[in-house]
Amino acid sequence: MNSKQYPSFRDAVADIPDGAIIAFGGFAMPGTPFNLIKALAEQGAKHLTCIANTTGGAQQPRMPDLGLLVEQGQVRKVICAFTAATRASDVLPFTKYYEAGEVEAELVPQGTLAERLRAAGAGIPAFYTPAAVGTELAHGRETRVMNGREYLLEYALPVDYAFLRARRADAFGNLQFHRSQRNFNPVMAMAARVAIVEVDEDILPVGAIDPDQVHTPGIFIHRLVRVPPPPGGIWPVVRQERRR
């Protein structure tokens, strides 16, 4: 069995073509693949469809995130739970490009986003959810009443690539996440044809992780890159709190 370890972030994203559909793990800083995103910004693939919780850039300090790819003109469309700031005083890097019509957006409730990714990975082409029923998001869409309650039909969201971040991996790709680093990462791995992981710690020999304690099985994972210590690698930092 070949190790799935790649020597660099550049190597791990080298083959990503224009037009690819990519899911990015992360909720705030934990679990966000900053290093892979930076490599993709350097690689330059265009017309991407990007799936993530937010369009990036809302938090300080600024990190390489989806907003960076948008600013570089690499993104055709985003699918996110946040496509605008929730406070009028905030301005996202994304907003300028969105309002100018240079990038499309699909706004999805966060739980629906997670479940659509999970469904893609689980071979479930569509499911019903109560989220967004009665809202603008449900306009013109198919709903169904079951047991007296109305539900919205939602479709699976398969992706070509998933960019993930984990605490620990063995060479087969079995993953462990630390605390809220987990977030979207496991379901994005399931939804992807090719899952690429940046890993906090040295890649372990196969079998070093207790089979009962694997968070994402290695069968879902294709490429691993060890994150170098700072300043070579990008790591989460304390968020700069703003008064609100």
């Binding site: 739970a81 967004a132 996440f177 680093q181 979207f184 496991p186």
Partner: protein, 214 residues
């Protein structure tokens, strides 16, 4: 948003809501003022705080310098864990939400209507929005409580007959804390459950574009 508003301050609004929490409840706190509910002293009632990113049983904000940078609440703040905490992935976290396990979600809002509709994801005149987990939470939590300023920055009421902004969910809000008081959407109008110190009922009436039931 300034603290120099009339009536209750931010923490006092949160206190009004937090005092409703019962022992053993699983509580999801939205970003902003709802977060302050976890500061309220509610005695020996044991609350399990759930965050959309899969953290079940988080505790206070981590002291500066002791943050686990891979542990945040829904607002991206570095929190701690209480004994008995567990972490799940995002789909399992929303399984907990949609599955009806959240006893109450406390959310911020732009508007709440007398029929329990509320709006909190898109400001007027903006393209796109910030839904986050609010639509899942609002549709599925056993109770939806709201904390918001009574008036907008330009002085218009946020307690309204019908929402003008696009709604987050319909008919779900049962309790609202504002700086003016504690209110229950009552189908027709809002029932005033408690008046904030220093606020006159007439002030509430003139700041509310729906009937006030006392």
């Amino acid at each position: 948003m300034s603290d120099a508003v009339k009536g209750w301050n931010r923490q006092q609004m949160a206190d009004q809501i937090a005092r409703e929490f019962q022992d053993g409840w699983i509580v999801n706190l939205g970003v902003g003022m709802p977060t302050l509910c976890s500061n309220t002293d509610i005695g020996d009632r044991h609350i399990i705080y759930h965050s959309e990113n899969g953290v079940i049983g988080y505790g206070p904000i981590a002291p500066a310098g002791q943050e686990d940078l891979n542990l945040v609440n829904a607002g991206g703040q570095n929190v701690t864990l209480n004994p008995g905490a567990a972490v799940v992935h995002h789909a399992d976290s929303f399984a907990i939400i949609r599955g009806g396990r959240i006893d109450v979600t406390v959310l911020g809002a732009y508007e709440v209507a007398e029929n329990g509709d509320f709006a909190n994801w898109r400001l007027a005149g903006t393209k796109g929005g910030g839904i986050g987990g609010a639509m899942d939470l609002a549709a599925c939590a056993k109770r939806v409580f709201v904390i918001m300023e009574h008036l907008t920055r330009d002085g218009r009421p946020r307690l309204v007959r019908r929402c003008v902004l696009p709604v987050t969910a319909r008919g779900v809000v049962t309790l609202v804390a504002t700086n003016y008081g504690l209110f229950e959407p009552a189908g027709e109008g809002f029932r005033l459950r408690e008046l904030a110190a220093g606020i006159a009922v007439d002030e509430v009436r003139s700041g509310t574009s729906a009937t006030l039931v006392i």
